[in-house]
C-alpha cells in the first residue's frame, strides 16, 4: 500500500501571501466571536440530539471552525457560499441567526428551511448561503451553475463551494472541475480535508492524498491552507477568491483540518485512536486563535471569557426560541412541492374536479387533519383546502 503521510505530517506549510498577519482588532474580535459561537452552538446541538430534541443525523463541525470562518470571511456579501450536510457553521458564519438554525434542527416552522430540511439542509437565500446538501458531491455541479449565472449576468460574484475529502472521489468532482475550468466559471472549490470520509481515512479512500493536486489534470490549479489556523485560511482563500474574481477561472483550495467529533452523532469512532484525536486537539483552532490575540494585545483573557459567555447566552436563547417555535402546521404538508402560479392547474396528478368539489364542502370540517403520520401521500383527499383554492383560482384566471 502506498505510504500516505500521517495526519500530523499532513499539517500544511503555508503558501501564498502568508504573513499570518492579524486583521484589525474589530475584525479579529468578530472572527473569534463567530468561531466561538459555532463551537458552542455545535456542542449544544449535540446535547439536544442526546435529549432527542433533534432527529435524523447530526453532523458537527467542531474542530473545523477556523476553516469555516477563515474561508467565509474572504467573501463579499454578494458572493455565494454552498456547502454540505455539515452546514450549521456555514449558515451561522453567513449571519443566519442561531435561533433559526436551532429551530431547523428542532424541525420547527421558524427553522431556516421551515422545518423541511433539517441538519443536512440549511438554507438562507437572503444571505446567499445556497444550502447544505445531503448527497456527497451533489453541491459541486450546483455551485458551477450558480457561477454560470453570475458570469452570464456580468456580475463579478464568486461562489465558494465547500465539500469534504470524501467528495473528491465522486464523479461530480471531476465533472464539475472540468466544466468549470472549460467555461472559466468563478468558483473557489474548497476541499475541507478533515482526514476522513465518514469513517474511512484519507489514505484508505484516495490514491492521491495531496488533495490540492487532484484538480491539476482538470485544469484547476490547487492551493493549500492550514485549516486549523483562521489567519492562514483567510489569507489563502482571499488569494484564491481574488484570482478567481479577476481571472474568471476556478481554483481548488485544500483546507487541512480535523473533525474532533465523530462523523455524526451515531459514530463509535473505531477507525481512529484517542491518541490521534488528542494530538489534533492540541492544535484546537479556538484556543490557538485566542492565544494569538491575547499575545498580540488585541484582547485580554477577560474579554475572551466574555466572548465565550456571549456565545453561550446566544445559544441558550437559540434553544429557547426553538423550543417555543411551533411545528409546521399539518395543512402545510403539501406547501412548496411546486411553485403554483396562475397557470398552475392540477399539479397534483391525482386531483379531480370531483375531489375539489368535495374539498370545498369538507375543508372547514377537516381542519387539523393529517398530522397523525398516516400515509398522506396516497390519501388523495388529504390535499389541503388551501391548495385546492389556489388551483381553483388558477383555473379561473386562465379559463
Amino acid at each position: 500500500m502506498q505510504s500516505a503521510p500521517e495526519p500530523d505530517q499532513a499539517t500544511p506549510e503555508s503558501e501564498g501571501a502568508r504573513a499570518g498577519r492579524l486583521p484589525d482588532a474589530e475584525r479579529a474580535r468578530e472572527w473569534l466571536s463567530t468561531m466561538t459561537l459555532i463551537r458552542r452552538f455545535e456542542e449544544r446541538a449535540g446535547e439536544m440530539y442526546a435529549r432527542a430534541k433533534v432527529g435524523g443525523f447530526l453532523h458537527l463541525s467542531i474542530g473545523e471552525e477556523a476553516t469555516i470562518v477563515g474561508s467565509a470571511r474572504a467573501l463579499r456579501a454578494e458572493d455565494y457560499l454552498i456547502s454540505t450536510y455539515r452546514s450549521h457553521g456555514h449558515a451561522l458564519v453567513r449571519g443566519t441567526p442561531p435561533e433559526n438554525v436551532m429551530a431547523e434542527l428542532f424541525g420547527r416552522v421558524d427553522g431556516c428551511s421551515h422545518g423541511r430540511g433539517g441538519s443536512m439542509h440549511m438554507f438562507d437565500l437572503a444571505r446567499r448561503f445556497m444550502g447544505g446538501y445531503g448527497i456527497v458531491g451533489g453541491n459541486l455541479p450546483i455551485a458551477a451553475g450558480i457561477a454560470l449565472a453570475s458570469d452570464y449576468k456580468g456580475a463579478d460574484e464568486v461562489t465558494l463551494c465547500t465539500f469534504g475529502d470524501g467528495a473528491s472521489n465522486q464523479g461530480t468532482f471531476g465533472e464539475t472541475l472540468n466544466i468549470a475550468a472549460l467555461w472559466r466559471l468563478p468558483v473557489v472549490f474548497m476541499v475541507t480535508n478533515n482526514q476522513f470520509g465518514m469513517g474511512t481515512a484519507l489514505r484508505r479512500h484516495s490514491a492521491v492524498t495531496d488533495l490540492r493536486r487532484k484538480g491539476e489534470s482538470l485544469g484547476v490549479p490547487g492551493m493549500r491552507c492550514d485549516g486549523m489556523d483562521v489567519l492562514d485560511t483567510y489569507a489563502v482563500v482571499c488569494e484564491a477568491v481574488a484570482r478567481v474574481r479577476e481571472e474568471r477561472r476556478p481554483v481548488l483550495v485544500e483546507a487541512v483540518t480535523y473533525r474532533f467529533r465523530g462523523h455524526s452523532m451515531a459514530d463509535p469512532e473505531q477507525y481512529r485512536t484517542k491518541e490521534e484525536v488528542a494530538r489534533w486537539r492540541e492544535r484546537d483552532p479556538l484556543p490557538a486563535f485566542a492565544k494569538r490575540l491575547i499575545d498580540a494585545g488585541v484582547i485580554d483573557e477577560a474579554e475572551r471569557e466574555r466572548a465565550d459567555e456571549r456565545a453561550l447566552a446566544r445559544v441558550d436563547a437559540a434553544v429557547e426560541f426553538a423550543e417555543a417555535s411551533p411545528f409546521p402546521a399539518p395543512e402545510s404538508l403539501y406547501d412548496d412541492v411546486y411553485v403554483l402560479d396562475r397557470e398552475a392547474r392540477g399539479r397534483y396528478s391525482v386531483e379531480t374536479a370531483a375531489q375539489r368539489a368535495r374539498e370545498a364542502g369538507a375543508g372547514a370540517a377537516r381542519a387539523g387533519a393529517g398530522g397523525d403520520g398516516a400515509s398522506a401521500g396516497s390519501a388523495n383527499d388529504e390535499i389541503p383546502k388551501q391548495l385546492s383554492d389556489a388551483l381553483a383560482a388558477g383555473e379561473e384566471a386562465t379559463s
Binding site: S113, I135, I142, Y152, G171, W183, V350, T398
Partner: protein, 356 residues
C-alpha cells in the same frame, strides 16, 4: 398554420423562447456545432451564439446540476440529454436536487429548469438507448412530466415548460422527430392566451390539459407519447373493421395529469384501455388503472386493460425489438377483449394485459 416536423416544431419553440427571454440558455452534448444528435437545436448556435447555446462535456449529472444551480439564481436553462437512458446518470441531480430543492429549503429557491430527452424503441439501439422511462419521472413529486405526441404539442408544451417555475422533464419520442403535423401559429380563434405577455398571442399548450385525439362512445383508449398515435390508428381500424367507436385520449402531460378528461370519457364509454411503450410493472398504465378504479369504479363495465412494452430489456434484433413494444394490432386486440369480443390479432408481441 404551418406543416412542421416534430423536430422543427421543437426547434421553433427553442428559437422563440431564446428570442423572447434573455434568461433562456441551452446546454447539452453536441447541441451546438454538431446541431444536436437529432438536429433539434440546428442553427441555434449560429443565431444566438456560444453564450446562450452551450456544447457541454459528456457529464450528464453535472450538466443537469449546472442547470439546477443556474436556475436557482435566475436563468431558465434548457438541458438536452441525448437519450432518456443517459438521464439515469443524472438521476441524482434530477431527483435529489431539482425536484426537492424548492420543498427542502422551505420554498426559498425554485428550479425553473427543463431537461429534454428522447425515448423509445424502433431503431435497433438495444438495451441502453431505447427505453421508455416516463414512469420513473412520473413517480417523483416536484417534477412535471410532459410527453408530446404531435408536433403541435411538442412546440406548445415546450414553450410552456420553459416558462414554468418548476423543473420539467420533457420527454420526446425518437421515432416522431421526422413526423409532420399542423402546428398553429397562434391560439384558436376566439380564445385569448396571455402566455406571450408581450406581443401577439402565440401557440402555447397548458400543462394538465389532455387532448381528445378522436371522439368515440364504446371504449376509452389512453395513449402515452408515441402510443397516442398508435392508438389513433387502431381506433380507425376498429371503426372500419369492427364497428367500434373508440375515444382516444392523449394526456400530453403525466404530471400534472388531466384525470378529469379521462374520467369523463370513461363515464361515457364504461371501458378503458391504456397504451404505453414502457414496462408493465409500476408503469403509467398501472397508475392510470389504479386512479380510474379508485375514482371511476362505478362507471366501469370491465377491468381497465393495459397494453405495455414487454417486460424485458430492449433487444437489438429487429424481429425481437418489434415484439417488445406495442403496435396497432395489440391495441385493436386489447380493445376487442375489453369489449368481450374475440380477436385473433393480439397473439404476437407484448401481452395486452402487461402480465409478467
Amino acid at each position: 398554420m404551418a406543416q412542421l416536423r416534430y423536430r422543427e416544431a421543437l426547434n421553433a419553440a427553442l428559437r422563440e423562447e431564446l428570442a423572447r427571454d434573455e434568461r433562456v440558455v441551452l446546454m447539452g452534448e453536441d447541441i451546438g456545432v454538431f446541431g444536436g444528435a437529432f438536429k433539434v437545436t440546428e442553427g441555434l448556435l449560429e443565431e444566438f451564439g456560444e453564450r446562450r447555446v452551450r456544447d457541454t462535456p459528456i457529464s450528464e449529472n453535472t450538466i443537469v446540476g449546472v442547470g439546477v444551480g443556474a436556475a436557482m439564481t435566475g436563468l431558465r436553462p434548457v438541458v438536452e440529454l441525448m437519450t432518456i437512458n443517459f438521464a439515469l446518470l443524472a438521476f441524482d441531480q434530477i431527483v435529489n436536487h431539482a425536484a426537492h430543492i424548492h420543498y427542502m429549503f422551505g420554498g426559498q429557491a425554485n428550479v425553473p429548469l427543463v431537461v429534454r430527452m428522447p425515448q423509445g424503441a424502433g431503431h435497433q439501439l438495444g438495451p441502453t438507448h431505447s427505453h421508455c422511462l416516463e414512469a420513473l419521472f412520473l413517480h417523483v413529486p416536484g417534477l412535471l412530466v410532459a410527453v408530446p405526441a404531435t408536433a403541435a404539442d411538442a412546440k406548445g408544451l415546450l414553450k410552456t415548460a420553459i416558462r414554468d417555475e418548476n423543473p420539467v422533464i420533457f420527454i420526446e419520442h425518437e421515432s416522431l422527430y421526422g413526423v409532420r403535423d399542423e402546428v398553429p401559429d397562434s391560439p384558436p380563434a376566439g380564445t385569448v392566451d396571455d402566455g406571450g405577455r408581450a406581443g401577439a398571442p402565440e401557440h402555447l399548450v397548458h400543462f394538465g390539459q389532455a387532448r381528445i385525439a378522436r371522439e368515440g362512445t364504446d371504449v376509452t383508449v389512453v395513449g402515452i407519447s408515441r402510443m397516442a398515435r398508435t392508438a389513433e390508428r387502431a381506433a380507425q381500424t376498429l371503426a372500419d373493421e369492427h364497428g367500434v367507436q373508440a375515444e382516444v385520449i392523449d394526456p400530453r402531460t403525466l404530471r400534472p395529469l388531466d384525470l378529469d378528461t379521462i374520467l369523463t370519457s370513461v363515464a361515457k364509454t364504461n371501458r378503458c384501455v391504456t397504451v404505453e411503450e414502457g414496462w408493465p410493472h409500476g408503469g403509467v398504465g398501472a397508475n392510470l388503472a389504479a386512479l380510474i378504479t379508485e375514482q371511476g369504479f362505478d362507471d366501469l363495465d370491465a377491468p381497465v386493460r393495459r397494453v405495455t412494452g414487454a417486460d424485458v430489456p430492449m433487444p437489438y434484433s429487429k424481429p425481437l425489438e418489434d415484439m417488445a413494444y406495442p403496435h396497432e394490432a395489440q391495441v385493436v386486440g386489447a380493445v376487442l377483449q375489453t369489449l368481450e369480443r374475440t380477436s385473433g390479432s393480439a397473439a404476437a408481441g407484448p401481452r395486452a394485459s402487461g402480465a409478467a
